[in-house]
Amino acid sequence: MSNAAERAEQLALISRLKATYPEVPEWPMPDQMTHDHFLAYMKNPHDVGGELDVPAAYENKEEEQWELMTYVLCEVLGMRGIWVSEERRRIGNVDVGRAVYLGIPYYTRWLWSVGRMLLEKGYLSWGELTDRLAEVQDRYAGGLAGRLPQAHPKAEGDGSKVKRNAHHLEAAGIGDPQVFAGKADAAKFKAGDRVRVRELPALFYTRTPEYVRGAEGVIAEATYESPAPEDETWDRPDAKPEWFYIVRFKQCELWDAYTGPMIDTLQTEIPERWLEAAR
């Protein structure tokens, strides 16, 4: 239980967590918001390629048991048709906003996405989740005392009435993206074609990185047919598959003042909706 002083201390801590540009007042009036700042706030926080950063000491990390269990939890939910992984990527890497994206550990965001998805899709109520969180905390009140944290489901539920996606059945024995083969319109581009990445006013989610938008490259390969992630992320079984392409860019054209040799390249995979023929 907290007292007033402890509550004040926590509020002071929260007050130091800044998530806005310092040069603009908090809660800006519409006329105080520039287009560039709006784009910056709307940019998917997972899209970090090319952001400024300095060298850092890289290190490995031994995995926590709960991290493995989190990975498994997310994947089993996919295996059983509760979601596809693209829903997880949006909820855990983008919907969290920049402060949480950069501020909490990697697998914590995976966990966050599970709770969020189960609530949004109606598999769980807030009360059920909250009660269970309190119950698990109480089980270990006073410390673990040598125990390892463990899950103890009270029963195994009847899964036969649970709403599941068609994808986990349709793709079984075939694979994803193989299950979508033959379902897209004819490919617009072929290897060797010059293309430009469109600059779409993409809100809420995309996997086409900002750093290639507007850039010209060459199709290295038409790769597979699949619904675009911008559809899969919102669980749209009706989404029409389209062709994906690996596009090759010259680094010296992609980046202003690229410091390496002219021959360096970068490749990334892009769905057809994001590409147009370059003239």
């Binding site: 926590e64 048991q65 994947e75 089993v76 939910l77 059983r80 996997r207």
Partner: protein, 242 residues
């Protein structure tokens, strides 16, 4: 109030309780959340405990060895090399990795689209997922922490040679550095060049020098070197139970 969070005693220096409390091994917020969600999923029938166990067993056995063996075999067998570069899924099967496992449609996060990028005397490949941490898990295991960091992801796409130099890898200007940002369903791995000084080596011997870092593209295989570049490892509080 900060129940469940294993913070050290708050470190401001006002003067309340000076007695040193014994270190309490508390459950973390993360563990509480994972347990609560897993229990509720099983109770609601979203998946069974047996299905959870099945995927756990799959996740516990993945690692970089099959990928290293695949490359070693490709170095020794030109037909297999051709297969690896044109049909990486079939080549994976020959080293014991079926990308359809364990669900029948692949792991939900890794899909069934795998491509091996061949290094040549004039091209050096390096992989990243600038959006998250896409990585060929079924054949290479889980990604190292540094691969997931915003730092690596921000910089490798824009300053690849600088980042590679931090791994001790300096490439001449006549070698094209090709960054592969794997941000959709394809998963990628690098097939490095076979180094000098390995004539007559067996597949097993070659496999040993093809480290995970070589397959990401931040290192080159070197006779006598069987460890990754980054070895510093932060220990877990409660590591994966055996």
């Amino acid at each position: 109030m900060r129940k469940g969070f294993p913070v050290t005693e708050h470190d401001h220096d006002h003067d309340h309780d000076r007695t040193v409390k014994p270190m309490v091994d508390e459950i973390t917020d993360f563990e509480v959340l994972e347990i609560a969600l897993r229990e509720l999923c099983i109770e609601k029938g979203l998946f069974t405990a047996a299905e959870h166990r099945l995927f756990t067993e799959f996740a516990e056995q993945i690692g970089p060895t099959p990928a290293a063996r695949l490359v070693a075999r490709a170095w020794l067998d030109p037909d297999f090399k051709r297969l690896a570069l044109t049909d990486a899924l079939t080549a994976s099967k020959e080293v014991g990795v079926d990308w359809l496992e364990p669900t029948g449609f692949g792991t939900p996060s890794d899909f069934v689209a795998f491509k091996i990028l061949e290094n040549t005397p004039t091209v050096h490949n390096v992989i990243v997922c600038a959006l998250c941490s896409c990585y060929p898990r079924p054949i290479l295991g889980n990604s190292p922490e540094w691969y997931r960091t915003p730092n690596y992801r921000r910089r490798i796409v824009r300053w690849p040679r600088q980042v590679l130099s931090e791994f001790g890898l300096a490439l001449p200007d006549n070698v094209e550095v090709r960054v592969q940002d794997s941000n959709q369903k394809h998963r990628f791995m690098v097939m490095p060049l076979r180094p000098r000084g390995t004539d007559g080596w067996t597949e097993d011997q070659l496999t040993e020098i093809i480290t995970r870092d070589c397959l990401i593209g931040v290192a080159l295989p070197t006779p006598g070197v069987t460890t990754n570049i980054i070895t510093k490892t932060r220990p877990a509080v409660r590591p994966i139970a055996n």
